[in-house]
């Protein structure tokens, strides 16, 4: 199979999550492609806009329902901007799924700590849904999410829904206050002090800005969570998605094929570094 | 006696004429009082900028004087410098240079004929307007222009500001096999050029006859491009090195361009001049085409310059094919140059007419003084004279119509595609 082959997909639904943030529900045009497609939570697709380019975007939908692929995209630059202007019925291209997702098997029987920042909640969303659908297989679930401003909070209903699950905590933080913000004001790591955790039986999943993840990991480490049970989703320049183009290297790892979800003990020496 | 004014003109200045201009006309009743073709293209001071540069840099710098005919500037420059350094490029380099020049003639003439001049006869504002009405004509024009571009690109790396021309020859010459890849397009272009001659030959030409003094290079062997003496229809014949003794420049108050006079009178350079002084040396296919459209070698109606240009496209295409067929790569791409101090001059035939360069170089090969006389500046005075002849026949017309006719006449001379022609603002003062 040619890993560079792109498949057409139609935008079945476009939801505006916040200003400049959209969730696209995509359906493959080709039935054969659609039925063969399977993915794990935390994997990503290369989404392609004709004449503009391809960017890596996490799959946020439920791996159990691989026919409908949800991608939440923040408009930040050249490709994402044009993508944000696409409408229901338009087609784009998909290549994927690529990378390694969240350690959902390893997490079985453990307490799950999810730490996210900004749009970082999107790539974990699919995994969280997956866990809740198998609620009994996992220990407690604690979701800690930070945003810069209250306005940046996405998936408000999802957070509310998650909160309803047994043995689950959802803690939100915003750097600055706002009229409708009833949650913590401050950075996400401050939430760590508000939750009870049993470090030795926990597994951590993090996604967000690299500095935030590094600080959070160090913090968790101090609380006693073993480094090999912390997982970080990394972002790098990706041109191929399959570990060949060389752009996404982090030390000896390729963020695309060895990640994007990577074990903290492995990448810690390279975090905040340029090689 | 050396006149102080003359001496001042000799200071290194090149007032470029391609660019913007305006025409000021003062009419006093039925009398044409004043005609000023004002060129206000900002002067770029090339002659000053060349001072202190190394002679090897000259081809790259002077190319930037004009993006439409950079090869002409490069050719005049390298010939002037080679004449100083006594470099004799062999036949093979000579014919490659001619081929390069053919490319520029084709490109520049096709652009003028199709994009700039023909619309005047077709009643449209620009050639792109033909996209809907006569797409095949427009496409033929674009493809013909491209036939010139591909020669330039193959020999020089790109069509605008080619990079391979150097004193002594070229930085790289193509192997025979590479040149041959051009033949197919050029054979198409030869047919297209013939069609072009027939097409423009059928245009409706306003009746206007001018009394010209033509100046062009003249060479025994061939229709002039890179070589020849300076000849004039008044009988003058002199080596190019004596050009300045016959053609003098002076500054007109109303223009940043310097005007040229031959022995004190306006004259015309360009296709019409070349044809008049060299028609015997046209290639057979061109002579035949000329006879077919019933054109005489002395074209005194400026509007018919479009036919002459088309004939020169045919000439250049046909010659390009012959050069390629006969081509053998030279032993070395460039002759060895031994630098010496002194002054070198040369003139070549740019698409729009004779282009003269003079350089004074020191023993280290640095330029001490440069003088460049472009064709448009030589034609300036002549264009004003034409206006003076044209205007009395237009006095009863609306200002707008007068403007159109004047612009149209100026365009006949292909001053440079960005020049006065289109940017022209006509100010008519009636007193």
């Amino acid at each position: 199979m040619n890993p560079y082959a792109i498949h057409a997909a139609r935008i079945a639904e476009k939801i505006q999550e916040a200003p400049g943030i959209y969730t696209f529900r995509l359906l493959f045009e080709d039935e054969a492609v659609a039925s063969a497609f399977a993915f794990a939570g935390g994997q990503f697709n290369m989404l392609y806009v004709a004449g503009v380019g391809e960017i890596p975007i996490s799959i946020v939908s439920d791996p159990d329902r691989a026919r409908e692929l949800d991608h939440t995209i923040r408009v930040v630059g050249r490709v994402s901007e044009v993508m944000g202007n696409l409408q229901e019925g338009d087609t784009l291209g998909i290549r994927g799924p690529f990378g390694h997702g969240w350690p959902l098997d390893e997490a079985r029987g453990r307490d799950v700590l999810v730490v996210t920042g900004g749009l970082g909640c999107a790539p974990v969303a699919g995994a969280i849904e997956y866990i809740f659908r198998r609620r009994e297989q996992y220990g407690s679930v604690k979701i800690m999410h930070g945003v810069k401003k209250p306005r940046d909070l996405l998936f408000r209903e999802r957070f509310d829904a998650w909160r309803q699950h047994p043995d689950t905590e959802v803690l939100l933080a915003s750097d600055v206050a706002g009229r409708t913000w009833h949650y913590h004001i401050g950075v996400v790591t401050e939430l760590f002090d508000e939750v009870e955790m049993e470090p030795e039986r926990s597994i951590v999943m993090m996604c967000g800005p690299e500095v935030m993840m590094r600080l959070a990991a160090e913090h968790m480490g101090r609380r006693g969570v073993p480094r090999e049970r912390m997982y970080l989703s990394m972002e790098r320049n990706m041109q191929c998605g399959i570990g060949l183009c060389g752009h996404c290297q982090i030390g000896p790892y390729f963020a695309c094929k060895d990640g994007p979800v990577m074990r903290y003990d492995r990448i810690a020496p390279f975090l905040g570094r340029d090689v | 006696m050396a006149e102080p004014r003359t001496r001042k003109i000799k200071v290194d200045v090149l007032a470029r004429v391609e660019g913007e201009g305006a025409l000021d006309v003062t009419l006093a009743g039925d009398e044409v009082r004043d005609v000023h073709l004002r060129i206000f293209e900002p002067p770029r001071f090339f002659e000053t900028l060349l001072k202190g540069r190394h002679y090897t840099e000259v081809p790259d710098i002077v190319a930037r004087i004009c993006g439409i005919c950079p090869v002409a500037y490069q050719m005049s420059a390298v010939h002037a410098l080679e004449s100083l350094f006594d470099v004799d490029v062999g036949d093979s380099i000579r014919s490659l240079r001619r081929l390069l020049y053919c490319g520029e003639w084709i490109e520049s003439h096709a652009l003028h004929v199709y994009m700039l001049h023909a619309p005047d006869f077709l009643g449209v504002d620009g050639a792109l307007d033909l996209a809907a009405s006569e797409p095949e004509i427009l496409q033929r024009g674009l493809r013909l222009k491209k036939a010139g571009d591909i020669i330039l690109t193959l020999l020089g790396g790109r069509a605008v500001h080619p990079v391979s021309v150097c004193v002594g020859g070229f930085s790289r010459v193509p192997p025979v096999s590479e040149l041959r890849t051009l033949l197919e397009d050029l054979k198409w272009a030869r047919d297209a050029a013939l069609d072009t001659v027939r097409w423009v030959g059928g245009f409706d030409f306003p009746n206007l006859v001018q009394d010209y003094t033509f100046v062009a290079l003249q060479s025994e062997a061939e229709y002039p491009m890179n070589e020849g003496d300076v000849a004039a229809s008044n009988g003058l014949k002199a080596p190019a090195s004596l050009f300045e003794e016959h053609c003098e420049e002076h500054q007109e108050p109303h223009s940043t361009a310097l005007h040229s006079h031959l022995h004190g009178k306006p004259y015309l350079v360009g296709p019409q001049a070349r044809l008049c002084l060299n028609h015997q040396r046209l290639r057979p296919i061109v002579k035949q085409a000329m006879a077919d459209v019933g054109l005489n070698s002395s074209v005194t109606n400026p509007h018919q310059s479009i036919i002459v240009r088309s004939l020169e496209i045919l000439q250049a295409v046909d010659e390009a094919i012959e050069i390629i067929d006969a081509y053998e790569a030279p032993a070395v791409p460039a002759e060895h140059v031994v630098v010496k101090g002194g002054t070198g001059m040369a003139a070549t035939e740019a698409p729009r007419g004779l282009l003269y360069h003079r350089y004074r170089v020191n023993a280290e090969g640095l330029i001490e003084e440069a003088k460049i006389v472009p064709p448009t500046s030589q034609n300036q005075a002549r264009i004003e004279e034409d206006m003076r002849n044209l205007l009395p026949t237009l006095l009863d017309r609306e200002d707008g119509e007068i403007a159109f006719e004047c612009e149209r006449l100026i365009r006949c001379y292909d001053p440079c595609i960005s020049c006065a022609t289109h940017f022209l603002k006509l100010n008519i003062k009636r007193i």
């Binding site: 792109i6 057409a8 183009c245 060389g246 340029d274 | -």
Partner: protein, 368 residues
């Protein structure tokens, strides 16, 4: 040098070898003189090889000079390795059509013509093996590399002349070609020694009716290659790698390199193992069609380390560090051996002659 069953190929029968290969429908590529160096060029016979030429390389300098008049492999390696033949500098991937009914994608077919490459060096074979590991032995196989690789017939030449920039001996990759070829030649005073490295190679030799080489020729070849190894002046001390490279991350010497390095990427372009590439989107002006084209890229470009809002390697210091750390350290962790095969191309073709062996030595010294 492993002793294979070697045969004598007289100089005047060299062309027979080439013709035997050609008869098997291979296009012949060999180092031919082009613009002052040697490049892979298509040849019809031995005449077009660089007879009587020798190259002389030094940091930032390459000259083609007169050499032994009867030899054609005195010229060692030009700027090209096998890389350009398998990992094309410009490879179309997908053609996209944008119609009213959406997008259609046509992947470019992966095809190649049988091609015999004459004059492949040991370092090139080592690099090819490395690139095979990257491009076709990993999780995803690159179909274009694979198609090209499968159609190659490799005629290696043992190096009997080292350049001052060569250090393959210290990297354990040369100067003798040990494996990975179809045929291997050694150029001797009187003709060549030829041996096979594959079934095809054996068949070709068999078709030529050559005499088996005697001990004197074998000895001459052995000595020539050994002398070549012994003549190498540069080396990299690989013992402390990769850790020492990682440890040198904050070494002040990176700034010193950055003051000299141009970030021009020549080193990565000529490096036979560097594999970075970018994908360019080339739409038509009308936008009804577009092409996705893969081109060689480098960690020295301004865009290489960029993600939205942040450049991981904003300046030359970080870029050079990326290149050297990747070559000599991360590579070992990624692919099991060093990314440097000691061909010295990056030293010769660096416009300002930056020499990685010297830079590594400086970096591995304890902080000044």
């Amino acid at each position: 040098m492993t002793d294979r069953c070697a045969f004598k190929l007289p100089r005047d029968r060299f062309d027979d070898l080439l013709q035997a290969i050609r008869q098997r429908n291979y296009l012949l590529l060999a180092p031919v003189e082009r613009d002052g160096s040697v490049m892979w060029g298509e040849i019809e016979g031995s005449r077009e090889l660089a007879w009587g030429k020798a190259d002389s390389q030094a940091p930032g300098s390459y000259r083609l000079e007169a050499g032994h008049p009867e030899r054609c492999f005195e010229v060692t390696h030009g700027p090209q390795s096998l890389k350009s033949l398998t990992f094309s500098p410009r490879q179309k991937l997908v053609h996209v059509r944008c119609g009213d009914d959406g997008l259609t994608f046509d992947s470019e077919a992966a095809e190649s013509k049988p091609t015999a490459v004459i004059g492949v060096r040991a370092c090139d074979l080592a690099a090819l093996k490395m690139q095979e590991r990257i491009f076709i032995e990993g999780e995803y196989a690159d179909p274009y590399f694979k198609a090209r690789r499968e159609k190659l017939l490799l005629v290696a030449v043992n190096c009997t002349r080292a350049q001052p920039t060569c250090f393959c001996a210290s990297m354990g990759t040369g100067p003798a070609a040990e494996s990975g070829f179809d045929l291997v030649l050694t150029e001797l005073e009187e003709g060549f020694l030829v041996a096979a490295g594959s079934r095809t190679g054996e068949e070709i030799i068999a078709s030529l009716n050559l005499d088996a080489a005697g001990e004197p020729e074998q000895e001459e070849a052995r000595q020539a290659v050994e002398a070549c190894a012994a003549s190498q002046t540069r080396s990299i001390n690989t013992e402390q790698l990769p850790q020492a490279m990682y440890a040198a991350h904050d070494h002040p010497h990176w700034d010193d390199i950055a003051s000299r390095c141009l970030s021009c990427a020549n080193c990565t372009m000529v490096c036979p193992t560097c594999f970075c590439h970018a994908v360019e989107e080339v739409p038509t002006l009308s936008r009804d069609e577009s092409e996705r084209i893969r081109v060689w890229d480098s960690c020295f470009t301004p865009e290489h380390g960029y993600i939205h809002g942040k450049n991981m390697r904003p300046a030359t210091r970080e870029r050079y560090r990326m290149w050297l750390t990747h070559k000599l350290a991360a590579w070992i962790d990624q692919f099991g051996s060093s990314g440097c095969v000691g061909c010295g191309r990056c030293i010769t073709w660096c416009p300002v002659g930056i020499d990685l062996t010297a830079e590594v030595a400086a970096l591995l010294e304890k902080d000044a």
